[in-house]
Each structure stands twice: as structure tokens, then as C-alpha cells.
Point group: C2
Chain length 460, copies 2
């Protein structure tokens, strides 16, 4: 296997470059033709690697590319998810090379070189590792699992038609576990597996005081000012230990065993570097938890936007009629985003002082996701990374949300293993996106081992 | 005197209409010619009424029209202040008649008719009462005081050059008291004298958290969110009794004697009507004070504007780098606006939690003003109004600020008597501004009595 991969290294990279030359920007309809051509190219690569039943499946939006490789009903089935669409490349003038003309350059972090192009890491470079690992497995007669591939074209615009597709293809997509390479490693050379994603509840609140803007001289002190009221209400959403005060908010938050916390604490993280990179003189968060825990295993509430009254230049002596805020909560464990939105609404309305009316409008939400570290898929990924990197992979709880992972769990009843090889410094969504060649090849080497250990772990 | 006024009623109104036809909009340079012509017209009216030394005095902006009438060094001197410029007339489509083509119409509140035009009440109709009262006094040989007039042309744009003019004309403007008719009566037929104006301290605050906008998923809960921090800090500016918490804030606030509070309480005010007009289900304010007291004799702190983070449509999961608010304080008694701004700044900075930086930028300010109700000018005005209205005038503390009144006290060392005849419903600064003919003529009848009682009260 290793021999096959080494022998075809350059071709793998050349093929990835071909894919990177296609500007598959899903957000911009000017690139529609290119996105569709990219789907066809992915299908061709899948077919060439050995996949059967390859299909460019129509959806109400861009197609999902499907392919599979059935070995034996007795073997476990692994579904690979990825996306062939990319973010827009703007601002173009901040790129050092053309975003769709990939070039390999050496950097401090990537002494073996990195390929610079839009989509290099997110996600063409990463899902392509799976296609090439699959090719190597088929070519060397080393296929310990049944394999399925689902590469979509709308991830960068919210995967709006993926639920539609998954709901209509339960049978075709049925599997034992999903593998996704669309996340990152915690540090260069330090393997990690993302085991948790936070859920999301997002609302907009509107506080109304008097029925019209008032002169703050003539009315100031005699009526509730909706901006002051909103500030008071927001302030009451946390207590002095920076815990969220919404009744029942923590009811379904898991208590993380000390062993797990100790494991999380091993992640290479220094508070000084963190503070320095954000230019902060101090940090703030829930009492008794570390920074990694605050974003990884604990829920949070943040105001994402606020506005009201006069916001132009200079001074205007007005008491606004209305004030607004956008407020989001990141959820963990068994917190249900709909229940939390309801609890927030009830509580926030109860905080309204006399003289103001409050309206809460919920936006979208998503459920938290956790992959247990004793899941056979997790254990297989851990073993594979240990072989390639020579050290134990770190389980990482990411503070962000990837709604499709919760969707897969809800629709297909299976966990996803988030086996990412990107780095924070790879500048995804930004100018000069790149992906290290070392990461690319390490990924291709790790994936067949994952299948091998997964098959061993589930069929023994 | 009364006979003279009655006989010339129609001409007084016709002359006012002439003045109202001049679009003396100081804020819009397109009307520069008109503003200058209006100054000349005012000078001509002053001269025709009998004033000497009439002068259209140049300033760095629009001219101040001056004139005087010296009777005897032994008599007290009264200075009349007013302004001949007006607010812009927009939005024009909300006017029922042309803003600069005055018409007389009967309304529910003005059964004797009111003249509708921009500036009818603010301030052409009101300062013109003084010119016509003066004319009547001179014509009937009834001049118990020396009189001076100072009618400016930049009141609606902040009187920006008035300090310049006053500082250079101490001698010319020297007087014993100033009379200004540019305020209102508390209710139709209920005479009142404004005895207090609140001062103003106005600042903008900037709260900075991380050095760039952050993803609220990846960072939420681990860093101080500047919007949440700003809300917390604003919330701490009041205690549960809605008292301002800035140390020393109330040190120089006068304690109003119960007798004065009882007098204030006599003002025709019903809380139900107040709440209904603002569509409020309740009111809020400093504990143990009435609504009239909260705006009249107590200081207040209000947020006039707030902004930060994502304020567009939909949801964006961002932790803003910066959040802002505009905050003003209305001041009373001996509160000094500069000292209060300093106290606010020190206190507000001290409220900053770890992980944020705070900047406070002061804007303009102004001192509070109080005219004691035993001042000879106040007593003279009270007596004059009693003769005309048959009832005691009410002393009114206005929550607003008129910075020139504090300027006159500081520069010329004299109090101003705020003898206004407008009504809240006269729509100043709004479409369909008007001024009741009854108010206009009552004013012209009251003013000579004011001079008479003032002379009696100061020379006896």
C-alpha cells in the first residue's frame, strides 16, 4: 500500500491540481457551469479509482456525486462525505498567486511545500485524499470494508439541499459510520480527532419603549429607555461566575469525567499565546473551566449584534423607541436547540422591566454533536493516526457547529468521525488558502489504516 | 396700552405674516440670502417700533440684530433675547399648507385661530410679541425700564457664534435681567414660567475586546464579548432604585424643599394620559420622585444610541471586536458638566471587566440653570401673567437644556426669565407648526405689565 502511494505521489498531486483549477464557487451563479463541470470531474475520478454505481445525482441545487464499492455484506460499510464546492476567492488583491492556478510553495509551517489555491484545504485537498486512498486500496486488493462516497456541491452555501437528498436516499446511504475530512489538526504534526461540535440557538430580540423617539431632555429619567432596559436584560443573562442564568439551561449539559478533562488539557495550548494573538489583557469565561473546556464542552451565550437610537456622528439627545440585539447560544451534550430557544424566550420576556415590551424571534438552530471516544470509528481513527504520526491522537471538542453532522445522525442513525488534516494557519475562507503536501500524503496513508482497524474493531 | 394694542391687532398680525414669509432657514446655505434679508427686516421693525442704535451686527456667522431704548440711568435695564432663524421645513409633504405662506386656521385648541407657518411659534411669533409690546409702550409713553434687544440668527444651528458676540459686547448687552419667549405654557390657558433647565454631559464610549471579529462558535464563552461587557457596564450605571451609581453624582444636586415640590405637583398632569400618549404599560424612574420631578428637578442618565457586531438581516455568528454607545446625563442644581463628565469617565473605565479596553470621548456639554422663584424678574412675570390670565403662573422645571441661558448667566452675570407662550401641540420643529392668535395677543398684553412690575419691584 505504502509502496503504491509513494509510487503515485506526483500523479495524486497533479490530479488534485486539476481539480483546484476549477472555480467551483457555489455562492456565485456566474460560476454555475464550473461547479457542474467539477461535479463531473469528481465522478470521473471516483470511477477511475474503482467506484461502482457512480452517479451525479440531481437535487434542487447542485448535484451530489455518489459512488460505492461493495465487497461483502458481512463487512462493515463506511460512507465518506466531502464537498467539491469552494468559497469565493475575494478579496483577489490579497492573494499572492492566482486562486485557481495552484502553485506549490515552501512555508515555515510546511517545509515540504504546500499547494496554494482556493479549496486546497477546504475541501478539495481533503476529500481527494479519500479518493486516492480508495484507489490505492482497490489497486492493491486491500478493501476491508464496503465503501460509499457522497461528495456534495453546496457546503459553502449552507448545504441547503443535502437534507432533501439524504431523506430520499436512506437506503443508498445506509452505512455503519461516516468519515469526514473537513476539519483540522490541533497543531502541525499533532494528530487530533474532532469529537464534539456545539449546537446553536440563535434569536433576535426587540425591546420597545415609548411609541416614538423622545427628546432625552424632556423625558430622560421618567420613562424606561429601551436601550438601557435591553442592556439590563442582557446583563442578567449571566451571573457573576459567568454562568448563563436561564432556568434549566444546564439541565442536559453532560458532566465531563475528570479523566476526559485531563485528556483535553493535554492539547498544546498556552494562554499567553492565545491572549497575545487576540491582543487581550485578560480572558473571561465560566468559572472553574479552562479556555479549551469553555469552548469545547461548555455552552455559551453571546450577543452577536446590538443596535438602537442614534448611531451617527456627533450627539443626538434622543430616547429611542426601540432597541434590538441578536443573541446566540452554543449548546453541548443533550441540550436541545428548540427547548433552549423556548427557555430563553420565556426567561428573557420575564426580565422586561415595566414600561417596555419585548419580542423574541428565533432564527435557525442546530443540535450539538458528540462522538464518544470509545466508538469503533473513533478507535480505528486513533490507531491509524498513531501508526502514521507515532503518537496518540488528541480528542478535540470544537466550539463551532457543523449542522450536517447532526443531520446525518438524525437521518441515518450513525456517527461521523471527523478526521481532519488541515491546520488553523491554512487560511481556509481567506486569501492564500493552502494545504500542506505532508498533510495531504499523511492523510492518504492514514485512511487505508482507518478502514483496516475499523474492520478489525467491528468484525472481531 | 390695552386700547393701543387692540386697535393695532390686525397690523401686528400682518407684520408677523410678512416675517413668516421669509424662509430664514439657518441650517441650509441655499437660504443664506433669505436669512440675511430677515435680519434686515427685524432691524427695520425694531427701528419702526422706536428702538435706537439699531445695528445688524456681523459675526463669523449670521448677524445678531441689536437695538435699544434708553430712558434713564436710574431705571433697571431689561434685555430681550430671541431668534429670527427657523428650522428646515422638511418633510414638506406632511404640511397641510405652504410652510412659508402663512394662513390662519381655527383648531380645537385654538378656537380664535392660529397662524400656520414654519417659525410661527419658534421663534418669530414669540420674539415679535416683544417688538409689538415695545412699540405699544413707546407709543403710549409708557416705558418704565431701559430696554435692549438681541435677536440672533443661528439658534436652530446651535447658536455657534453667540458666545463670540456676547464676549465682545459685554458693555452693550449689560442689563439687570434677560427675558426670553422661546418656551411654552404648561397647558392652554394655564400660565407658567420655566424656572429650571437641566444641564448636559454627553459622551461616546468604545469597548474593545479581541483585536478582530471572531467566530462565536470557536471563541464563544472563552473571551469577553465587548457587547456583553458594554451591556453589563451600562447596567451598572443605575442601582435598583434607578439612581445613578457614579460616585459623587448627586453631591451637588439641590434638595428641593417640600413646599417647592408641592407647588410642582400642582401642574396639570395625569399619569394615565402620559402613559397613553406614549403607549406605555408602565413608567420607570428614580424611586420616591414623581414624573414631573424626575424630569424637572432630578438628574438622569440615558443611553442615546448603541451599536456593535452584526446588525443586518438574518444571523451571523460573530463576536465583535468593538461595541459603542452614546450616553448622556441631564444635570440639575450645581452639578458641573465637566466634573460630571470626568466622574463618569473614571467610573465607567473602572467597570471594565478583564479582557476589554474602554475609551470615553466627551462631546459638548452645558450647565444646568435655575431661576429662583423669588427673583424680581420671576415675581414681575408672575404678576403680569396673573393680570392677564386671572390665575397664578406655575413655575416649571423643564427637563431640556437651553445652553444660551447658562451662557448669559456666565458672561453677563444675570438671570433669564423664560416667559413662553407656546403650547406643546404647536408642532415646533415639525410639519404644520402654528401659533395661537390668543397666545400671541396675550403675550403682547403681558409683556408691558412685566416691565411695569419689574420696575416697581426693583426700584421701590
Amino acid at each position: 500500500m505504502k509502496t503504491y502511494i509513494d509510487k503515485h505521489k506526483q500523479r495524486f498531486l497533479d490530479e488534485l491540481m486539476t481539480l483546484l483549477r476549477m472555480p467551483s464557487i457555489s455562492a456565485d451563479s456566474a460560476y454555475q457551469e464550473d461547479v457542474l463541470k467539477t461535479a463531473d470531474a469528481v465522478a470521473a475520478f471516483l470511477k477511475a479509482a474503482g467506484a461502482n454505481n457512480v452517479d451525479v445525482c440531481e437535487t434542487p441545487g447542485y448535484p451530489v456525486v455518489y459512488g460505492d464499492y461493495h465487497v461483502d455484506d458481512a463487512l462493515p460499510t463506511v460512507l465518506v462525505y466531502g464537498h467539491y464546492d469552494v468559497q469565493p476567492a475575494d478579496p483577489l488583491d490579497l492573494w499572492d498567486s492566482e486562486p485557481f492556478n495552484p502553485v506549490v510553495k515552501v512555508t515555515d509551517i510546511h517545509p515540504d511545500g504546500a499547494v496554494f489555491a482556493r479549496g486546497a484545504c477546504d475541501d478539495k485537498g481533503q476529500f481527494f485524499m479519500h479518493l486516492k486512498a480508495f484507489e490505492a486500496m482497490v489497486a492493491t486488493g486491500n478493501t476491508p470494508c464496503n465503501m460509499k462516497f457522497m461528495i456534495e456541491g453546496e457546503e459553502e452555501v449552507g448545504s441547503s439541499n443535502l437534507a432533501w437528498f439524504v431523506q430520499r436516499n436512506h437506503q443508498r446511504l445506509s452505512c455503519d459510520v461516516i468519515v469526514i475530512s473537513d476539519t483540522g489538526m490541533i497543531a502541525p504534526g499533532v494528530p487530533s480527532i474532532t469529537t464534539g461540535l456545539r449546537g446553536l440557538s440563535y434569536v433576535e430580540v426587540e425591546v420597545t419603549g415609548p411609541n416614538r423617539d423622545l427628546h432625552s431632555g424632556l423625558y430622560g429619567g421618567a420613562v424606561a429607555n429601551p436601550i438601557n432596559a435591553l442592556a439590563d436584560m442582557i446583563s442578567q443573562l449571566h451571573d457573576k461566575d459567568r454562568q448563563v442564568t436561564i432556568p434549566g439551561f444546564y439541565d442536559r449539559v453532560e458532566t465531563m469525567p475528570q479523566k476526559e478533562r485531563d485528556r483535553l488539557a493535554k492539547a498544546p495550548f498556552t494562554l499567553d499565546a492565545y491572549k497575545q494573538s487576540l491582543d487581550l489583557n485578560g480572558i473571561q469565561g465560566e468559572k472553574s473551566y479552562s479556555t479549551m473546556e469553555r469552548t469545547g464542552i461548555r455552552p455559551a451565550l453571546d450577543v452577536n449584534g446590538i443596535w438602537g437610537g442614534y448611531t451617527g456622528e456627533g450627539a443626538k439627545t434622543v430616547i429611542a423607541s426601540k432597541a434590538y440585539a441578536k443573541i446566540s447560544m452554543r449548546l453541548v451534550g443533550e441540550q436541545d436547540h428548540e427547548a433552549i430557544t423556548k427557555a430563553f424566550t420565556t426567561y428573557f420576556m420575564s426580565l422586561a422591566p415595566e414600561g417596555v415590551k419585548v419580542k423574541v424571534s428565533p432564527f435557525h438552530g442546530g443540535q450539538p454533536y458528540v462522538c464518544p471516544t470509545d466508538h469503533p470509528g473513533y478507535l480505528a481513527a486513533e490507531k491509524a493516526l498513531k501508526v502514521v504520526y507515532g503518537m496518540d491522537a488528541l480528542p478535540v471538542r470544537s466550539g463551532g457547529s457543523i449542522p450536517i453532522v447532526a443531520l446525518f445522525e438524525a437521518e441515518l442513525g450513525v456517527k461521523s468521525i471527523l478526521l481532519g488534516f488541515g491546520l488553523d494557519s491554512d487560511a481556509i475562507h481567506s486569501p492564500n488558502e493552502h494545504y500542506g503536501l505532508r498533510n495531504f500524503y499523511d492523510g492518504i496513508r492514514s485512511i487505508p489504516l482507518f478502514y483496516q482497524f475499523y474492520a478489525e474493531g467491528t468484525t472481531s
